[in-house]
Symmetry: C2
Subunit: 313 residues, 2 copies
């Protein structure tokens, strides 16, 4: 199996590259090295069957890398989350135009299988509604969510028009080894600089599922094996939820800090476009035989330990 991974040096991409390199004949990574994992790159550089190209999929000619590839894991996305909040074009350009570039390159090279990392953002702000994959209408409230939905749509049309097979995954908040962003990551870095005060974006009541990258890896590999239709969409999440206040306390505990004053904001959301309450149904992938190994609590605890370890850079 010859695999191409866009964003293959990022948090999720580098995890997949490392795991898949155990069995794949060859792994080609395209990554523009923004928001990437240094420690992940170090490990991947030791693998003889992994070739890393420092390439920006939006601005570069990428066609050549898709020759003789069997399947594409398309993980490249905007890693400048805070900038994307104020500028729609960052997400639109990277995710929408990037996906268009990848699909065209696949078609030219007759590569017809694609794994895509979508997310809960496609559903918009649906409060306590349990969101299954057939929920509609999809009205994303963030540029990030809109870009993911646009990319899903474009991928779907290549299944209809060009015989592609697509595996689309809407993840809960993915955490774990080598994560390069996210709420726990931000808390750790804030507290390293200022160990007596923690400023939290929003009132801390934002409540979501957190899923370990190992669990999403297992879900994706299972769906690839079992899916019979030419396209399908899967939520991947735990069945429990934790709030930001819990994460703040876990980070403080794990860092052995005391007397930290936590300053919560007034808004229910962390930033404009943040969806404070997300309730996922992951029944569909569970019916295929998947289950999460780690709960949200366990996943975030593991993630905090990874973030604090020397290896997480």
């Amino acid at each position: 199996m010859r695999i191409l991974i866009t964003g293959g040096l990022g948090f999720i991409g580098s995890y997949f590259a490392e795991k898949l390199s155990n069995s794949a004949e060859q792994i080609i990574i395209l990554d523009n090295k923004t928001g990437f994992s240094l420690s992940g790159e170090d490990i991947l550089l030791t693998k003889p069957n992994i070739k890393i190209h420092n390439v920006d999929i939006v601005s570069s000619d990428i066609d050549e890398y898709f020759m003789n590839i069997d399947i594409v894991y398309h993980f490249a996305a905007n890693s400048k989350i805070s900038e994307g909040v104020n500028n729609p074009n960052i997400d639109f350009d990277i995710t929408v135009r990037g996906t268009q570039k990848v699909l065209n390159a696949m078609k030219k090279a007759s590569v017809n299988q694609i794994v895509f990392s979508s997310g809960s953002g496609v559903y918009g702000d649906q409060k306590e509604t349990i969101l299954s994959e057939d929920f509609g209408p999809l009205l994303p409230v963030s540029y990030y969510g809109a870009s993911k939905l646009a990319a899903e749509a474009m991928i779907s049309s290549f299944c209809g028009m060009s015989g592609f097979k697509a595996f689309i995954f809407r993840f809960a908040n993915v955490v774990g080894m080598r994560q390069t962003h996210g709420v726990a990551y931000d808390f750790v870095n804030k507290l390293k600089i200022q160990p007596k005060t923690l400023e939290v974006l929003g009132n801390g009541m934002q409540s979501k599922s957190y899923i370990d990258v190992e669990d999403i890896f297992n879900g994706i590999e299972l769906a690839i094996k079992k899916q019979v239709t030419n396209i399908d969409v899967y939520n991947i999440s735990t069945q429990d939820y934790i709030d930001v206040r819990y994460i703040a306390k876990e980070v403080i505990k794990e860092m052995n800090l005391s007397d930290v004053k936590i300053n919560y904001g007034e808004d229910s959301f962390g930033w404009v476009g943040d969806v404070p309450i997300v309730r996922f149904s992951s029944d569909k992938i569970r019916k295929m035989g998947w289950s999460n190994k780690y709960s949200s609590q366990e996943a975030i605890q593991r993630a905090i330990k990874f973030i604090l370890s020397d290896d997480n850079s």
Copy 2:
């Protein structure tokens, strides 16, 4: 009211421009004059409160036209349907990048209301399933449908992030005065050249709702008046369906032709990406008080008469 209409010289756009000019203070039309209506332009040129700019929204700087606009009717779309079938980038570039340009221009000029013409293509190929607005997952099978869904998503995110109000309409097949493309239009033009034979794309059993442009105008204006949420999506369709064989026979009858040999294709679809059976629920807009004036049969009969009249150019 100052209104900007993208694609305002096209079939749907020119109808709206003419009707809205009766009450609007000013109408600004942006149109690149591909697949536009000559007779529509002639009429609109006589209206003192309509200003037409021959501008391509994708390649040109369009920001200046959005100053002091109250609402945008975003109708610009790929009119080269047959070319779009083979090249994903035509629809992606015009609809996706065009919508991105329009949204950015609106934001810069503090215009925050948008009407968008989406279509049944967002639903994908769902056979006999009755499609209401909350159907999911949305897996479009054509580049056209994918682009419309991507545009819906992008518009939705501007509602969440920038306080826009959006009115999204998923139309059945729109027909009527000054239509510049479509199955009846194609049949008339084929029979003008070759009156003894009619080549039909597909087996003629494709069965869909056809709705008069007058009916969609009334539906849109009603929704704009009544919608209280910052974004909503409405199907607009008749409650009956006709197939392509019926349309072929009506065209032949209206043209007073006889002994026409109709050659049907073997496929159930007219072209790759065509969805042969579309079943729409329009209950949502009906509950707001809308109903169609013309059935599918009546709408297509009127359309054929318009196409055959001297005014339809």
